[in-house]
Amino acid sequence: MKIKLNGKEIEVEDNLPVLDVARREGVNIPTLCYHEALGPYGACRLCVVEAEGPMLRRSLISSCTLIVSEGMSIETNTPLVNKSRKIIFELLLGRSPEAQPLIELAKKYGVENTRFGTGQSDDCVRCGLCVRVCRDKIGVSAISFAGRGQKRSVTAEFGKLSEVCIGCGACANICPTGAIRLEDRGDERKVFLWGNLISRQPLVKCGHCETPYTTERFLAHVRGHCDINALNVKQNLCPECSRSLCAEALTGTFPVS
């Protein structure tokens, strides 16, 4: 179908989000709560664009949730779009003035200061990626949003230590600002969400090099989801040793028992 992007008519396939189409065309649109692995959420509002169409009144809509339709016209660089991005970045920086990745992203779009904030600093931008990855991809739901409005925060149940967390670290991995941190020390892994301890899990040692590398629960989780006959799973090998096994099995030098 045909749509217009910043005045230029282009041909696109059905069912694509405007964000994907725009990026493919080399147009820069900032995002925070968006991740290819998860469905769109439309929460951060950084990706808003001005959109109009035969069945759509002209307005700002999040490009990650907006699906292209015949005759749609999209503008990603209007004064309204730019003003919105600026204020939204400022609002985010108001809550998280020290979140380095956010500062850099904002700078990329011309925002270096914020006129907002209460003096507190909280790197969690409430993007929801951690909650969604834990719920939808890992299937554990160890964390969720609690509270409402400006008091909304991410916690484990009752604000206590999670009883179901498997310590996989997907939340820390996906967090765009680094507000979630894993700390492996000795044979224990701790998960910190902006200073709050939400989980402690015992680590297991690699069957070959004996370095603690993952949690018992995560190992059990993986075992439940993949071929348990795979050698690296059977022998409980850490990623380093797994790689060595792979490489050397090809050359026949890794001791395979």
Partner: protein, 609 residues
């Protein structure tokens, strides 16, 4: 002849009233009950039994006719109807019942001192009761009372004699627009839902009336619940839905109880369930409670709540008519909208379209509250000038104070100042003024209301009720409140206004849902019409209305003070000193500006500026 289902029906009949029956109607809405309606009702029942009279005492719902909720201010209101002639009493207490019975019912002479006054007549004379016609007239807990007014005839007409497209056409032709706030064309919405494909279609009644100051939905459900059920039956048939939900606030326990009872009765009589009225269509309604989240009045948040989630709205498109509850096509309408449907079917689209203005048809219920003499629910044709509603029906501002503004549409709306008081009230005109119709709330404000404080009130409300999902609303409302707090505390500057305006623009345009998008409206509206008040707070560090505590000062005029010590005795901070019969003085350091002394002084000796 209505065919009944096979389930055993407990037939409860109202005694058919004969012309010589004496009927007493006691207001039993929340307002009536708060004023002691139950006790008054019991007093009548007991006295009638005691005196061997054969009067019928019926329970009456809380809405109009006798002040539904509105004239709750005059509760307990009681109608005494003899030979078809109705006389209304106000402020009735149980100990007045005997007098009314002896002098009026038995003796034939109404008790002059207890009757309603002229303001009661004025309140009702310009109203046009369509939706509220039954409220205050019939017993809402008796389905036969509803049937006696022609209830369920529209549903029967539709299901037995019309095809769905005909029904949709009729609603479209009537010009009915959603009464929940957005004013979307109801017929069109039904049509879009009908044309949507999905293995199942859902119907929802949005009874999560969260707008502070609005209580029309409550009045309808408490006073005439079957009208909503009948509307939904008709809608279900038109759209092809077999399952409907009423999502109702948990804060309305009486309404919930009456609704549940009405649904039970409708099922017993075969109006809900399988094979409705024997014509092959299935439809049933289930009640779901809200749990204290204003955002759940937004349709996608409501749907999320029905799906066992937190009330997080979802981006639109897709719209609920295409993808709603459980991903299926869903039609959501407000309580008033559903209650209007049977009237349109009974009286015809032409009739409905003949009322109102070109683009806003029919009547609308407004809750007229705040600084107004006759507070209550008023139902008027669309297009009535605001001035008539405020002065003719509302009786003007109490204590002869000056009208300042009316906030319409609740926290999502804006204010109408005196210069624009002749505006005909309909969707287009209110929107053109920077406000909205919303659910129909009209909060009247006088010279003692600070418009900056009002803006702060509404934005604080939105901040508290924000779900927190999207950045502009979550962080933006918080920042707007902070800026308004600075202004009301004397710390404001012109930069505050400039930043407020920037924030308003972005929050309005970039928020995910209607709550965020309309949160800035009260600020924008008060900035537009009451900029002088903002300027006074910022440049003069004064609150012209005398509301913002930091900017006001209470002091005692020694020439008027009689030394009665009333102020000192009531002061919670013990900030007032003085000898008995001698002039008193307020210690400004201790004073917390609570205003208790100002209220306590009977000599007007305390000034506030």
């Amino acid at each position: 002849m209505i065919k009944k289902t096979k389930t055993a029906a407990t037939k409860k009949t109202t005694k058919k009233s004969r012309p010589d029956d004496i009927i007493v109607k006691v207001c039993m809405g929340t307002g009536g009950m708060a004023a002691g309606g139950r006790e008054v009702l019991d007093a009548f029942i007991n006295k009638f039994a005691e005196k061997g009279l054969t009067g019928t005492v019926e329970k009456r719902c809380s809405a109009n006719k006798v002040g539904c909720r509105g004239f709750c201010a005059k509760d307990v209101l009681v109608d005494v109807i003899i030979d078809g002639k109705s006389t209304t009493y106000q402020f009735v207490k149980p100990d007045m019942v005997e007098k009314i019975i002896d002098e009026h019912i038995t003796g034939g002479a109404p008790v002059a001192g207890l009757l309603v006054g002229p303001e009661y007549k004025n309140f009702h004379s310009k109203q046009k009761k369509v939706l509220l016609a039954n409220c205050g007239n019939i017993d809402p807990e008796d389905v036969d009372a509803y049937l006696a007014t022609g209830g369920y005839k529209a549903a029967e007409k539709v299901i037995s004699g019309m095809v769905p497209d005909e029904v949709i056409k009729e609603i479209k032709n009537s010009g009915l627009r959603g009464r929940g706030g957005a004013g979307f064309a109801t017929g069109l919405k039904w049509e879009l839902c009908r044309r949507s494909s999905g293995e199942k279609k859902y119907l929802i009644c949005n009874a999560d009336e969260g707008d502070p100051g609005a209580f029309m939905d409550r009045a309808i459900i408490e006073g005439d619940p079957h009208s909503v059920i009948e509307g939904m039956i008709i809608g279900a048939y038109a759209i092809g839905s077999t399952e409907g939900y009423v999502y109702i606030r948990a804060e309305y326990p009486l309404a919930v109880e009456r609704l549940r009872l009405a649904i039970k009765q409708a099922r017993e009589r075969g109006y809900l369930g399988k094979d409705i009225m024997g014509h092959g269509h299935d439809f049933d309604i289930f009640v779901r409670l809200g749990a204290g989240a204003f955002v759940c009045g937004e349709e996608t948040a409501l749907i999320a709540s029905l799906e066992d989630q937190i009330g997080e709205p979802r981006p639109k498109p897709p719209f609920p008519v295409n993808k709603g509850l459980w991903g299926m096509p869903t039609n959501i309408n407000n309580v008033e909208t559903w209650a209007t449907v049977p009237r349109i079917i009974n009286n015809g689209a032409k009739w409905f379209a003949s009322i109102g203005t070109e683009k806003s048809k029919g009547t609308k219920i407004f809750s007229l509250v705040g600084k107004i003499n006759n507070t209550g629910l008023v139902e008027v044709p669309m297009g009535m000038p605001l001035r008539e509603i405020i002065y003719d029906i509302g009786g003007g501002i109490p204590k002869n104070k000056k009208y300042k503004a009316v906030q319409t549409g609740g926290p999502s709306g804006g204010c109408i100042d005196f210069d624009h008081i002749d505006v005909p009230v309909d969707y287009e005109n209110l929107t053109a003024m920077g406000s909205i119709m919303g659910s129909g709330g009209m909060v009247v404000m006088d010279e003692d209301t600070c418009m900056v404080d009002i803006a702060k009130f509404f934005v604080s409300f939105c901040m508290d009720e924000s779900c927190g999902q999207c950045t502009p609303c979550r962080e933006g409302t918080k920042e707007m409140v902070r800026l308004l707090e600075d202004i009301t505390h004397g710390r404001g500057t012109d930069e505050h206004i400039a930043l407020l305006q920037e924030l308003c623009l972005v929050i309005k345009e970039a928020s995910l849902c209607g709550l965020g998008k309309t949160a800035p409206n009260p600020v924008l509206s008060t900035l537009k019409y009451f900029r002088n008040e903002y300027d006074a707070h910022i440049h003069d560090k004064k609150c012209p209305a005398g509301v913002c505590k930091t900017l006001i000062c209470f002091s005692i005029d020694r020439s008027k003070c009689t030394g009665c010590t009333s102020c000192a005795r009531n002061c919670p901070q013990m900030a007032i000193t003085g000898e008995k019969k001698g002039p008193h003085m307020i210690d400004q350091e201790k004073c917390i500006r609570c205003g208790i002394c100002f209220d306590a002084c009977k000599f007007g000796a305390i000034t506030r500026e």
